[in-house]
């Protein structure tokens, strides 16, 4: 007998339960109820978001593949598969395991598609480090990522980290992975062919992670230990063996479909493989390897124990699969058969009694809700800002140093040195430049990848902020010499049932859509994470963009730091009198106000095309995108980000027709700093002219100081040692302070 307390505890509403009764025309069994609750959760069913996500472009200039659990693009005979996914709530509760299993889960999505994982990235957001719990979170999350990723032998090549009060009580951990496969060797995540076998492979099933998707990920949560048991525990060694064994079985040709048991575990894998293959599955619980005694059938069905997969194998070939898994000392057991009646039928382990008998479609077709939305009240208040509301600064050296010290801007060396970023021998641009670059062995090409989102802009103006996230990701890739190709989006928002949060979500999705269409890049995969709230409100809307780009010639890769003394320094793009949403306004004036920076997509494209063409013609020695901290911070980074060879700069030809602080620290979009030999200048000017890009020669490289002057008046004059010391060590010092 199902009581309202039971289904509500599993996260189902009265209306949803009524809906289940109508669909089944009877009361569900306990196991069925648990399965519905999992499949119809926000996390698995995308019930509040599916309606809007439809508008994201599925095509772009590169041929795009949309798979069941991931997506990718085709480059020659290779498929490049990639996806980003959130693991926010688990990480807030138990940072090490939360982050570790986030990495494990996203990597499984890649290799179940038949692709070998070749790189990982991440996007992390925490409250300020002045709070001890945030320090604990940062330590735990970084430890979890290194613990899992390093063991797997998948290099963690890039990412971003921001610190802001809005993430107090709800950190964000978004993990991205990239894999490659021959394009004709990709695997599907479906079950088909009557009589074929359904095999369970990998780790055994325990009680860890029960309710992970329906309870932990699909509701707001208040901090506390009570939900810790809903966080999964990761075993990277098991996953490493699982990667090798999986790629080995896929190469046999006997595997018809394969799916990771991620959120909602076996429930999701069985019902979605059946539904996507337009088949049924008849299985018994008797053979499933269990790590705990007396597990109830419903617990087995929704457990989120890690490192497990479901495989559909050609009848008669089970032994081949078994042999490969036993070579790797992993479980592989046949638990059922494919049927043609499209019904998921599950039998009890003791007596063969039928516990579940539901049409696969009913389970997987979660309801779609049209959510009400309304512009939040804060928008009007906060956008009401004039630049003259804040006074000019007197000492720009101090401003520059305090920006370089800000943990969101400072070097992330303390973090990325803990990640193995070189294994697999492909990382040709190491972490610390605008985008990470990995070569594709056996070709002359490389992939550039980045993750990006300035969520403060999205808070001030969700539509434009989301467009900027796409534009900036593309700009980062272009600076490495790559053509932007495709994105994965990881959409982190507050409670979708609150109309002001949903308004943010709707506008961000529209912004991503319009920007991607403009740049002709597809959205190959993505993930939505709602309910990111703390007692004070929602997090800033954070639509993290993971973008990959293609570098045609591995010898034409560019990095952000200056290479030679005596090179010319060029500013592409236009600096406007604006600093709404800037790090400067927040850090120096303590304000989060104004509008997000202006964005003219045509100008953005012109700047990117100019940069890319100049790099491809071998004219450019360095290229760096301007973002947080603006022109002064960007130039300083060009001077100091190659620790082994710092090169100074003298900037003496800026246009001071706007307020000096806006010029130095404003965050106008669509700007890139290039450096080049003097003899390349004319050619670069020609290219800029062709694309109608504003170009200005603002100074030259050399010496051991960073100087910006207005005529004879030095506005900024700091030694490189000092800049480097502050920028490189700020994060480490913040972490160590108070311990």
């Amino acid at each position: 007998m199902i009581t309202p307390e039971m289904y509500r505890a599993l996260g189902l509403s009265d209306k949803e339960y009524q809906n289940i009764l109508n669909l089944l025309e009877r009361e569900p069994t306990v196991t069925e109820l648990a399965m519905f609750a999992a499949e119809w959760s926000e996390h698995c069913g995308y019930v509040s978001s599916r309606n809007l996500l439809k508008i994201l472009p599925k095509t772009g200039k590169f041929e795009t593949l949309i798979g069941e659990d991931s997506g990718g693009i085709i480059v020659d005979d290779l498929a490049i598969i990639f996806k980003m996914e959130s693991h926010n709530h688990p990480s807030q509760v138990e940072p090490k395991q939360g982050a570790a299993t986030g990495v494990g889960g996203i990597i499984r999505d890649i290799f179940t598609a038949g692709a070998r994982p070749i790189a990982s990235l991440n996007s992390l957001r925490f409250g300020p480090l002045s709070e001890p719990y945030n320090k604990y979170l940062l330590h735990g999350v970084v430890d979890g990522i290194q613990f899992y990723g390093n063991c797997l032998g998948v290099p963690t090549i890039g990412g971003e980290i921001y610190f802001d009060e809005s993430y107090n009580g709800n950190c964000l951990v978004n993990a991205m992975s990239i894999g490659i496969a021959k394009k004709d060797k990709l695997a599907r995540a479906c079950a088909f062919g009557e009589g074929n076998s359904i095999m369970y492979v990998g780790a055994s099933t325990g009680r860890d992670g029960i309710g992970g998707c329906s309870v932990l990920a699909s509701h707001e949560f208040s901090e506390g230990d009570a939900k810790r048991p809903t966080v999964q525990i990761g075993d990277p060694f098991m996953e490493k063996c699982l990667i090798e064994a999986t790629l080995e079985i896929l190469s046999t040709g006997y595997v018809l479909g394969i799916k990771d048991m991620g959120a909602a575990g076996l429930t999701c894998a069985v019902s979605e493989m059946a539904s996507d293959g337009e088949s049924g599955i008849d299985m018994e619980l008797c053979n499933i390897p269990l790590r705990e005694k007396n597990m109830e059938p419903w617990e087995i069905m929704v457990s989120e124990s890690q490192e497990r997969m479901l495989v559909c194998v050609k009848a008669g070939k089970e032994k081949t699969i078994n042999d490969i898994f036993s070579k790797w000392d992993l479980n592989a057991v046949t638990i059922g058969k494919v049927t043609k009646d499209k019904i998921v039928r599950i039998r009890d382990r003791d007596n063969g009694k039928i516990l579940v008998e539901v049409k696969a479609d009913i389970l997987t077709k979660a309801p779609i809700y049209n959510m009400p939305y309304k512009e939040p009240e804060y928008i009007e208040k906060i956008n009401n800002f004039e630049i003259n509301d804040v006074p000019e600064q007197k000492d720009y050296n101090i401003v520059l140093l305090s920006l370089l010290k800000s943990p969101s801007i400072a070097s992330k060396e303390w973090v990325y040195e803990q990640y193995d970023h070189m294994v697999q021998l492909n990382t040709i641009v190491l972490p610390g430049s605008d985008a990470a670059v990995i070569r594709l062995k056996g070709t002359n090409k490389a992939i550039a990848a980045t993750t990006d989102c300035n969520s403060r802009y999205c808070y001030l103006n969700p539509y434009r902020g989301a467009q900027i996230a796409v534009a900036e990701a593309a700009r980062n890739l272009v600076c490495s010499g790559a053509e932007p190709a495709s994105i994965t989006d990881c959409l982190n928002f507050g409670n979708p049932k609150k109309p002001d949060r949903y308004w943010q979500f709707k506008n961000c999705v529209q912004g991503i859509t319009d920007a991607c269409k403009f740049f002709n890049v597809s959205v190959a995969s993505g993930n939505v994470s709602f309910y990111n709230e703390n007692p004070k409100g929602a997090i800033y809307p954070t639509p993290t963009i993971g973008m990959i780009g293609i570098i045609e010639d591995i010898n034409k890769v560019c990095t952000q730091y200056f290479k030679n003394e005596g090179d010319m320094i060029i500013l592409l793009g236009v600096s406007m009198e604006e600093f709404g949403g800037s790090e400067y306004l927040k850090l120096v004036h303590g304000l989060v106000k104004g509008n997000a920076p202006e964005l003219d997509l045509k100008m953005e494209r012109a700047v990117q095309l100019t940069t890319l063409e100049a790099i491809r013609n071998g004219l450019v020695n360095s290229a760096h995108d301007l973002s947080e901290g603006g022109l002064a911070v960007g130039l300083a980074e060009c001077c100091i980000s190659n620790k082994e060879r710092m090169i100074g700069a003298v900037i003496n030809n800026l246009n001071f027709d706007i307020r000096t602080d806006a010029l130095l620290f404003g965050e106008s979009q669509s700007r890139i700093i290039l450096s080049c030999k003097e003899k390349s200048l004319n050619q670069i000017k020609e290219i800029a002219k062709k694309h109608k890009t504003s170009l200005q020669i603002i100074g030259s490289t050399g010496g051991n100081r960073f100087i910006i002057s207005d005529n004879s008046n030095k506005l900024i004059d700091v030694s490189l040692e000092k800049l480097q010391d502050i920028w490189s060590n700020a994060l480490r010092r913040d972490i160590d302070s108070g311990n």
Binding site: Q146, C241, Q418, H421, M422, L425, I428
Partner: protein, 222 residues
């Protein structure tokens, strides 16, 4: 160039096996095969590579479980007959656990995993692994480990020094290793263990090519 037969041992959890294989076969055009850890004998190879990674997940202690793999007895026999064995990172840790090299590994002094380029100084060029380097050459080479803090007691250290067994020393000690030790050979000189990864700096596309001469020395020396 001569053609040697290399065997790259694969333990469950090895993750630099493909990298070592790639450098030896694709960059250096040698004859390379994988040796599965469940094999018992080492056959038809001139040099064995124990690659980096997390054999058995580094559970219990790095290298502590791998040393009980069936192949280890074969490797010990191969080494005792004078065969060349190179252990890189986790491979070094396994050689220590198996007793083919003296000493032990502790957790890095800063208790973090460290992945970065470091500089190491060559102390002994009279080994089959280093004979093509210049005397006292300094190599730029990546490390990537959590337990690279080499430990040996004073008496053991004296013995290493007396026999010229210290091959590489860190210029700027990243992990707390005794006497800045980054790599050592056994007394006979045919077994090398090193924490830095030469396979990660053996191609022009990567940040450094200083590791290449380790493999070239092996190939040239036999």
């Amino acid at each position: 160039m001569k053609f040697l037969r290399f065997g790259v041992v694969v333990f469950p959890g090895s993750n630099c096996d493909h990298d070592c294989f790639y450098v030896l076969s694709n960059v250096l055009k040698q004859d390379v095969k994988y040796i599965w850890h469940k094999e018992i004998e080492v056959r038809d190879v001139d040099c064995i590579v124990l690659p980096g990674g997390f054999s058995y997940g580094d559970y219990l202690r790095t290298g502590a479980i791998a040393r009980f793999s069936p192949i280890m007895q074969g490797i010990i026999n191969f080494a005792n007959k004078g065969g060349l064995v190179i252990g890189i990172c986790n491979g070094f840790q396994i050689l220590l656990e198996a007793g083919l090299l003296p000493g032990a590994m502790l957790c890095n002094k800063n208790v973090h995993f460290i992945c970065k380029h470091v500089y190491v100084k060559l102390l002994n060029k009279n080994t089959p692994f280093t004979n093509l380097y210049k005397k006292d050459e300094v190599l730029k080479i990546p490390i990537a480990h959590n337990e690279g803090n080499y430990y040996i007691d004073e008496k053991g250290l004296e013995t290493l020094k007396e026999n010229n067994q210290i091959v590489f020393q860190y210029c700027d000690n990243p992990n707390g290793a005794v006497d800045n030790i980054a790599g050592i050979v056994n007394k006979e000189g045919n077994v090398l263990g090193m924490m830095p990864h030469p396979e990660r700096c053996s191609e022009k596309e990567l940040d450094s090519q200083d590791g290449l001469f380790i493999f070239k020395s092996i190939i040239g020396g036999i």
